[in-house]
């Protein structure tokens, strides 16, 4: 109420300031990326043509638009490398999400069933790694997974294997890295829903003769679904475009769009192709993002 009685200017600023900032630094850049994905590379600074000639005003914009072409997208379509990268980005993200659900659901369930006094401590324990540098947590796995690393050393010492396993620079390492880095993102939203579940509901199901498994499948899981879906998408979406994990753990053979974009931009200095890859990546995640918004709304309702 008090805000509604505020002066119109103040009221307008509250909305306009963040809006202008986000439009300028989030929306406009996308439009520019889209346009540059239709440009051709050049050995100039910046390394693409045409550039917007600001001094020419409207004329500059028009020339800019006339010079656009579809070459970059034709290149993407013609090169099987990009098709494979698109597919494997989705496969990696989907596989890691599946593993996350398998590991994260029992964890979140256990947290929600812990003593009330213990729960904040458990939440803090899941949060601490999430606040800790992403780069460093991924880096830690190099020391564990490499041929002469800790995992192989332990397994060799235990006599479980005769030869060091080749894990680093394989798809398995990428999946392990993705799962590890995104685990808190799945556990926390799921726990939030589970911990608010009325404990009388599973008790009522047990009272009516349902087994543990049946209670989980018919009561707990359906009620926790919004949290699970939100958490899974919250992991899946950024994983599709992940760069650090495939770069550090997957080795040079790993094809993921985030890494392709990075290489096109930093190594090949082909900004238009990098932009085209960005547009492709964006198209790939539009669906999941829309689903995520829906899931979030349902989750918020569930949390009410």
């Amino acid at each position: 109420m008090s805000v509604s009685t505020a002066r119109p200017l103040g009221r307008w600023l509250v909305r306009a300031l963040p809006l202008i900032w986000l439009a300028l630094f989030f929306l406009v850049p996308f439009v520019i990326t889209l346009k540059i994905s239709f440009s051709t590379p050049a050995t100039a600074q910046p390394p693409y043509l045409p550039v917007i000639d600001w001094s020419n005003g409207l004329q500059g914009w028009r020339e800019f638009f006339y010079a656009l072409d579809l070459t970059n997208y034709q290149m993407l379509a013609a090169d099987s490398l990009y098709w494979e990268a698109t597919l494997s980005s989705l496969v990696y993200a989907a596989a890691a999400t599946a593993v996350l659900v398998l590991i994260g659901t029992p964890m979140a369930l256990a947290m929600a069933r812990a003593r009330p006094g213990l729960q904040p401590i458990l939440v803090a324990m899941v949060v601490v790694p999430f606040w800790t540098s992403f780069l460093i947590r991924v880096y830690a796995w190099i020391a564990i997974l490499k041929p002469e690393g800790l995992l192989n050393a332990t397994l060799l010492k235990l006599g479980l294997i005769a030869q060091p396993l080749e894990i680093l620079n394989t798809p398995l390492a990428v999946i392990i890295g993705l799962t590890y880095a995104y685990l808190p993102f799945l556990v926390l939203p799921l726990y939030a829903v589970l911990s608010r579940l009325d404990p009388a509901l599973p008790e009522a199901a047990a009272d009516l003769g349902a087994s543990r498994m049946r209670i989980f499948c018919t009561v707990t899981l359906p009620l926790a679904m919004p949290g699970l879906v939100a958490g899974a998408l919250l992991c899946f979406i950024p994983m599709v475009g992940e760069f650090i994990i495939p770069d550090l753990l997957g080795g040079s053979e790993t094809l993921m769009l985030g890494r392709m974009l990075w290489i096109e931009f930093f190594s090949n200095r082909d900004w238009p192709i990098a932009s085209a890859v960005a547009v492709l990546l964006l198209i790939l995640i539009v669906g999941p993002v829309v689903m995520f918004r829906g899931a979030e709304e349902r989750r918020e309702e569930a949390l009410r």
């Binding site: 008090s2 505020a6 324990m125 760069f243």
Partner: protein
């Protein structure tokens, strides 16, 4: 808790903490090799504290984080207020979309497109461009944290203040803002940490001479495992744990809600 619950929790937390434990333990290893334990030593911390470029980039990172988190906290709070208080205004859908999209957007896209903007408007790249980039994706996170608190805020508190003669501005500064303070602090810390943590976006939008800590670490990590980085990581983990512990202790004491 059943035995299964306990097992799931133990394995899950073990999985989360094992790599961090490895980093911490081997940061005190005398040897350069990860797999060989050759005795306790703090020599890598010595090396770390004499690494001028690394310390400089850490300072740059702190500067960027502080500035961008301040901007994000301001814009995020305004955005949360607009969404909570302005009802169904025109463009509300677009507004929420713009606010939350940067949070899920793959960093490579955000980084590349922001760089293209900066090049297009011929803005010199360096610390300011990284601050702008980080503030942009931090805003959404602050809005989520502050928005959750706003939703739980008893509206009659502000009405009571107005009823007692306080104008809109006095209501905001004496009632709304103090009540939002814990979530505002949490949102600020979140934006701060995310900024401190970001490699990808900073790599795109930074210019010569502006190297953040993750950029420096990345260039060394690519060359392989390095005990000096283990030492740096250990310090970072210790700092983060301390902040999280303080935050949860504070919120437990004040009876507030833990953010994130």
């Amino acid at each position: 808790m059943t035995a299964f619950n306990r097992l799931a929790l133990t394995l899950g937390l073990g999985f989360l903490y094992a790599p961090i434990a490895v980093l911490v333990v081997y940061s005190f290893n005398d040897s350069r090799l990860v797999t060989v334990w050759s005795g306790f030593s703090t020599r890598w911390y010595g090396v770390l504290f004499n690494d001028g470029p690394l310390l400089a980039s850490a300072l740059a990172s702190l500067k960027v984080a502080a500035l961008s988190a301040t901007i994000a906290a301001t814009l995020g709070t305004l955005a949360a207020l607009a969404l909570d208080r302005h009802g169904r205004f025109t463009g509300r859908g677009a507004f929420t979309g713009l606010l939350y999209a940067p949070m899920v957007m793959p960093e490579v896209i955000t980084g590349l497109s922001l760089l293209l903007l900066f090049v297009g408007i011929e803005m010199e790249r360096g610390i300011p461009t990284i601050v702008i980039a980080h503030a942009t994706f931090g805003t959404g996170f602050v809005a989520v944290v502050v928005g959750a608190r706003l939703k739980g805020l008893d509206r009659s508190l502000e009405e009571a203040a107005a009823d007692l003669g306080a104008g809109p501005i006095r209501v905001f500064f004496t009632v709304t803002l103090p009540l939002l303070a814990p979530s505002l602090a949490a949102g600020f810390l979140l934006a701060f940490t995310l900024s401190l943590d970001d490699l990808v976006i900073a790599s795109f939008v930074s210019g010569p001479g502006a190297t953040t800590l993750p950029m420096r670490l990345y260039s060394q990590v690519r060359l392989g495992v390095n005990p000096e980085i283990n030492a740096a990581s250990t310090l970072l983990v210790a700092a983060v744990s301390l902040v999280v512990l303080c935050a949860s202790w504070l919120s437990a004491r004040k009876g507030g809600t833990t953010a994130v």
